[in-house]
């Protein structure tokens, strides 16, 4: 029993990280039809910025350090994403392949730069003692970092749903996902919504970058790329453009990975997720909760 609880919470924690990366990818794809390969770079840059901030505050209290790092990570992710959209994506309006290619180049260049600056080996991160401790839950000792990740992702999900359902810009984003041209034919500047989804997506990826650092206890330049691929899989399984779909798929993917890796063999879970993606795409090309066009 305690093993199952442990695996479930670990899987949910992993799913939470996937969701935070996937949410932005899904919104960006839904609204702009851009597969954003630079999303992993937002994650990576944010986690290194957060790490640098907490290094600079080494003498402060661990909690202050952690919260400043969190803030720095989110702001960095958001700013980097906003800037990328404004400088690289926007000039390529109407050239979709070009937009995708630019994000590929940005991803390669950024990860290389981080490697050059910080080295390619993982670096340990410091965190408050409570974070690295465990809490008892249904007889299992659950690492607190898992709980933090799950709570944060749930909060982000609620905030995003509130934004999408209850605000005018949320309305514009939802309408734009369906039919961008018609939104501008109603006199709305869709371009501003583009910038906004990049800012939101980058901030969420930045949050994921900081939480993943605490989750794994280390940061390394390659994690952004593997997160990106997992997030792609989550977004596609959930249905491109659907936030609730991404949340659902993130939970499924995280749980499937953990349970199969434990009960079958290490690696089987990762393999199964990829097969699941292929099956979903062939059976339900629009994804679990995606609108079939």
């Amino acid at each position: 029993m305690s093993t199952i609880v442990l695996l479930a919470v670990t899987g949910l924690g992993l799913g939470a990280l996937y969701f935070l990366v996937a949410a932005g990818l899904s919104l960006i794809w839904g609204l702009m039809r851009v597969l954003n390969f630079a999303h992993g770079a937002f994650f990576t840059v944010a986690s290194y910025a957060a790490w640098s901030a907490s290094q600079a505050l080494a003498s402060a209290s661990p909690w202050l350090q952690w919260f400043v790092a969190l803030l720095v990570g989110m702001v960095t992710g958001g700013l980097f994403a906003t800037l990328s959209e404004a400088v690289l994506i926007r000039p390529l309006y109407q050239r979709h392949i070009g937009q995708v290619l630019v994000t590929v180049g940005l991803a390669l260049a950024t990860v290389a730069l981080v490697e050059g600056g910080f080295g390619s080996d993982p670096r340990p991160v410091s965190m408050p003692a409570w974070m690295s401790a465990t809490s008892p839950l249904f007889g299992a000792a659950i690492a607190n970092t898992r709980i933090v990740a799950i709570v944060a992702a749930a909060l982000v999900l609620l905030l995003l749903l509130f934004f999408l359902r209850r605000t005018r810009y949320g309305l514009i984003v939802r309408a734009g996902v369906e039919n961008r041209a018609m939104v501008s034919a109603l006199g709305i500047d869709v371009q501003r919504a583009f910038t906004l989804v990049f800012a939101i997506g980058g901030t969420a990826a930045g949050l994921a970058g900081v939480l993943a650092a605490t989750y794994y206890g280390t940061i390394d330049p390659a994690r952004g790329t593997s997160m990106l691929i997992s997030a792609f899989i989550v977004v596609v399984i959930g249905g491109l453009g659907s936030i609730t779909g991404s949340a659902l798929a993130a939970v499924i993917v995280g749980l499937l990975q953990q349970f199969l890796n434990f009960y079958a063999a290490t690696g089987v879970g990762d393999f199964a997720v990829v097969i699941l993606l292929a099956v979903v795409l062939l059976v339900r090309p629009a994804g679990l909760l995606g609108a079939s066009s």
Binding site: L171, E178, N179, M182, G187, A291
Partner: protein, 241 residues
């Protein structure tokens, strides 16, 4: 008769999509007030003309609204100058509720004619919370018309085949709504249903193969069987004889 001031003017509008030139230099003037019909057979470029006015397709030439040049503006800026659009396929946002569809169309800073909209289409108030995608075709058309009618500062409405595929009863209601709408804004109407067009329209512009081939009074067009047959197809000719 033609003393009304010119409102919308197109000059040498050209649109090329892929390798085919859809519009080969379209020029015409829509005068203020009433409904102007934009007619022609299928595929002669009527829809493209409306999309070209709005900048939804890349085009050359010039479009002016009350002497103000629109050509260089982005679509949303053109619309904000007072252009309402009811597209051919209605293009309601299927995942949004009826109320959200209308709220999205509200232009900040303009007065919103919810009174008029709900008077013409009371079912939109009843179905406010319903997803637009689950409405019938006629109701979707009402949402689409309502979005254009809503903003009181709209000077011209571009309406593309509003009766297409609708039941006769709904066609009549749409036609009534267009007549009411014409009291508050100028309308440029693309309409295949000649019976409807004939009743609503006074000035007509006829397109053929991406060019304007006739521009004048609707009676003059219908009264000329050769013109009507050549540019509007057999149905029109049969109707006249």
């Amino acid at each position: 008769m033609n003393a009304r001031a010119p409102l919308l003017e197109l000059h040498d509008l050209r649109v090329t999509i892929g390798e085919s030139q859809i519009l080969q230099g379209v020029s015409f003037t829509v005068r203020e007030g009433g409904i102007t019909g934009l007619l022609g057979r299928n595929g002669v470029g009527k829809t493209t003309t409306l999309r070209g006015i709005l900048g939804l397709v890349p085009r050359t030439g010039s479009v002016t609204l009350a002497q103000a040049e629109l050509t260089a503006l982005a679509t949303y800026e053109i619309v904000r100058r007072g252009v309402g659009y009811v597209p051919e396929d209605r293009d309601v946002f299927a995942g949004l509720s009826v109320e959200e569809n209308l709220r999205l169309a509200e232009r900040p800073g303009a007065a919103h004619r919810y009174d008029l909209v709900y008077e013409l289409f009371p079912e939109l108030r009843e179905r406010a919370a319903q997803r637009a995608g689950t409405l019938s075709g006629g109701q979707q058309q009402m949402v689409s018309l309502a979005r254009a009618l809503l903003n009181a500062d709209n000077r011209i409405l571009l309406i593309d085949e509003p009766t297409k595929g609708l039941a006769p009863l709904i066609v009549k209601r749409v036609a009534d709504a267009l007549r009411r709408a014409a009291e508050v804004a100028t309308i440029l109407l693309v309409e295949q249903n000649l019976a409807v067009a004939h009743r609503l329209v006074k000035d007509v512009i006829v397109l053929d193969q991406g060019r304007v081939v006739f521009s004048g009074d609707v009676e003059e067009l219908i009264g000329d069987p050769v013109l009507a047959r050549r540019y509007l197809g057999l149905a029109a000719a049969r109707e006249v004889h």
